[in-house]
């Protein structure tokens, strides 16, 4: 026991970085508090307080071990971050994930523009109406009305694409925050909070959040990238999934009210759109939505497992309901 105490006291001079000094100071304060509790328990012959003090002392030992592990874990986490199999040519896993999200965002932006231009082109045809009136009498015919069948699918497509852009943007912001502050701020503060009994739950939660967001979330993004690459190389994927969709939409003459020419124009546009559909599906669903889902799954799953390991039970289902 005395040796362990001595080892704990030695943590202060052994510290190098500033936050480790703060952590060591927190350990010493906690040690002082639990010695006080133990003395009161001893004086009052209260077994509960003595047991509490002893239990806390073991927690302090665990914490000291965690700090030591963190020195090693820092290297381990960086090792995972810089693993060539995961980084895809970038210096770290996080940078690879951010680059992937950037690329997805750029592609989605272009696709949304194409979608809007196509929608606009088609709607111009759909809105055409020929009218003729003279001296109060006349007629109005909407010969290109067949194009209106495409308006509802376009609304839905716009909604999905817009939501995908928002999702990618949100995940990118979270990844950026985790990259900048996960190990630098959340992890050390979590360890310091875990020192004290009353803040142990919050500390465990912050440690879990720091690690999950820094490692697991980018990992989810990269895994989806890898899956997509495999998919494109497989026999199931056709060339339809790659390449950039173009603006489609055939022209309609509203004055040709007789015959099937205007109907053919609408149906032809519909068929042209079907050819482009897979390109949208690949980016909007497989790349954007799946990436966001996988990233969150990894984050929430990691948060649940790690927070339990660090002594905080957090109902992560509340987080998953946000999305």
């Amino acid at each position: 026991m005395k040796k362990i105490l001595l080892a704990l006291l030695l943590l202060v001079p052994l510290s190098f970085a500033a936050w480790q000094t703060v952590a060591a100071a927190a350990i010493l304060v906690s040690l002082f508090l639990l010695i006080t509790v133990f003395m009161i328990g001893y004086g009052m012959q209260n077994e509960q307080m003595k047991v509490l003090a002893k239990d806390e002392f073991y927690q302090l030992i665990v914490l000291a071990v965690m700090i030591v592990i963190l020195f090693g874990a820092d290297g381990l986490l960086n090792g995972i971050s810089q693993n060539a199999a995961l980084t895809q040519g970038y210096p770290t896993l996080q940078k690879a994930a951010l680059a992937s999200l950037d690329d997805t965002f750029g592609t989605l932006s272009e696709y949304l523009k194409t979608l809007a231009e196509t929608d606009n082109k088609i709607a111009r045809q759909a809105a055409k109406a020929t009218s003729c009136s003279f001296a109060g009498g006349g007629y109005s015919v909407s010969a290109c009305g067949g194009f209106t069948m495409l308006q509802a699918p376009f609304s839905l497509a716009g909604s999905i694409a817009g939501f995908a852009i928002a999702e990618v943007s949100a995940i990118k912001m979270l990844t950026q925050i985790a990259t900048d502050y996960g190990l630098l701020l959340l992890l050390p503060i979590g360890i310091i909070l875990r020192t004290f009994k009353f803040s142990r739950g919050a500390g465990g939660f912050l440690i879990a959040l720091g690690i999950s967001a820094y490692i697991l979330m980018p990992l989810g993004i990269i895994f989806v990238d890898m899956l997509n690459e495999q998919f494109l190389e497989s026999d199931y994927a056709t060339d339809d999934y790659t390449g950039e969709p173009g603006v489609v939409g055939r022209s309609c003459d509203p004055e040709k009210t007789l015959g099937t020419e205007t109907i053919k124009a609408a149906k032809g546009t519909y068929r042209d759109l079907r050819k482009e559909l897979n390109k949208y599906i690949y980016v909007v669903l497989l790349r954007a939505t799946m990436t966001a889902l996988a990233a969150l799954l990894f984050l929430i799953g990691g948060l649940k497992a790690l927070s339990a390991a660090f002594g905080a039970e957090v109902d992560v289902s509340a987080i998953s309901r946000f999305f």
Binding site: D119, A123, C132, G162, A166, S169, A170, M173, P188, F198
Partner: protein
């Protein structure tokens, strides 16, 4: 700022003149109940009652220790220098100095950020809606040489003959995309305000009233669970919740003033560049309405370009960036404050266990 509420002399007065006396009264009443029970146990030679009294007096001591601990923690956190903490972790921070103000600062910043996102999305939504309803009428044969020479021969001469249309009627896709994000961003904004109100409510002292009630209830038979919950809620919401938010405020520079390469979002935050994306001035003024109408008749794209001027060095409408801004606002104003709330609730469970009671907050969690 909150400083006036939590870390001021007025607040310490409130603690010493209101909370501590009430807690003392609650403690005295609980102590009296315990003493009477102990005496009854002695008189009746009932070991159950005397053991209960001894246990309760320890619990009463723990309750008071919690109150004193909270008082000292408040002093500690009020004196804590956030800039100092930021320098320990080697990050830039320009927010307020104490933890409670920093927590409020985070929520205010996130509310402002989500409001800016809301303004950007709303502008685009409005512009596309206006453009979507813009009508056009092209007279028959206006382009033939004869009609140009004698306009009265055209379809718009004596009669009314031509083709009507909606040059920008096809912005339904963008409108629904923007509508979806607008609703989500509105929710983010409302949530940040919601958390701000909760924080203000905590700072105004509501949580402290839970202490005397908790101290009293913990000493009552069968009421320890409720008493423990109240004390745990008080500690978690007065310390842990603001602490999490203050930590997020330390990351404020990264959250609210992102790197320019981050989806070119900086120009959306920079007030000097607002006119290019969200300022209403880019709408055609009423006095220019006729000119715009005539111009649009000859070239419909002219109207669109007036509604969507591009920031320097960029081209085309910034619709995707506005949508992305809404997505980022979700993280800043909804996700992170909710994480702080979850952390506080996790602490309630942990503290409850410290007080010897298992608290099931799964029902409350569903409300978050």
């Amino acid at each position: 700022m909150v400083e006036a509420a939590v870390c001021s002399a007025d607040f310490l007065d409130f603690l010493s003149s209101t909370i501590f006396p009430i807690a003392a009264v609650a403690g005295v009443i609980a102590g009296a109940v315990i003493a009477v029970t102990y005496m009854a146990g002695q008189a009746l030679s009932n070991p159950k009652l005397t053991v209960w009294s001894k246990t309760e007096i320890v619990q009463l001591f723990i309750s008071f220790a919690s109150l004193l601990l909270l008082g000292s923690l408040f002093g500690f956190f009020c004196g804590l220098n956030m800039q100092g903490i930021a320098s320990v972790f080697e990050i830039g921070y320009s927010g307020p100095p104490n933890m409670f103000d920093a927590a409020e600062n985070y929520l205010l910043s996130s509310a402002e950020y989500s409001h800016n996102a809301l303004a950007a999305v709303r502008y685009h939504l409005k512009a596309y809606t206006i453009l979507g309803y813009m009508g056009m009428f092209q007279c028959t044969s206006l382009s033939s040489g004869l009609v140009i020479a004698f306009p009265f021969l055209s379809g718009c001469g004596y009669g009314y003959s031509g083709t009507s249309g909606l040059p920008f009627g096809g912005y339904a896709a963008l409108n629904t995309a923007l509508n979806t994000v607008f609703n989500s961003t509105l929710m983010s904004y409302v949530m940040s305000l919601n958390y701000l109100i909760i924080l203000m409510y905590i700072y105004r002292g509501f949580a402290f009233f839970l202490f005397p009630i908790g101290i009293f209830l913990r000493s009552m038979p069968y009421m320890r669970g409720l008493g423990s919950t109240l004390i745990s809620v008080a500690i978690a919401f007065t310390i842990v919740f603001p602490f999490f938010l203050a930590v997020f405020d330390l990351m404020g520079d990264g959250i609210f003033k992102s790197d320019p390469s981050l989806m070119n979002r900086d120009h959306l935050y920079d007030a000097d560049l607002y006119p290019f994306t969200v300022n209403e001035d880019v709408f055609p003024e009423n006095s220019a309405g006729v000119g715009i109408s005539i111009g649009s008749g000859l070239d419909p794209d002219l109207a669109r370009e007036l509604y969507f001027q591009s920031p320097p060095g960029m081209s085309g409408p910034m619709t995707s960036e506005a949508i992305a801004f809404g997505g980022a606002a979700f993280i800043a104003a909804f996700f992170l404050p909710s994480v702080a709330m979850l952390g506080a609730i996790a602490s309630v469970v942990y503290l409850g266990r410290l007080y010897g009671e298992e608290i099931d907050l799964s029902r409350i969690m569903r409300m978050v």
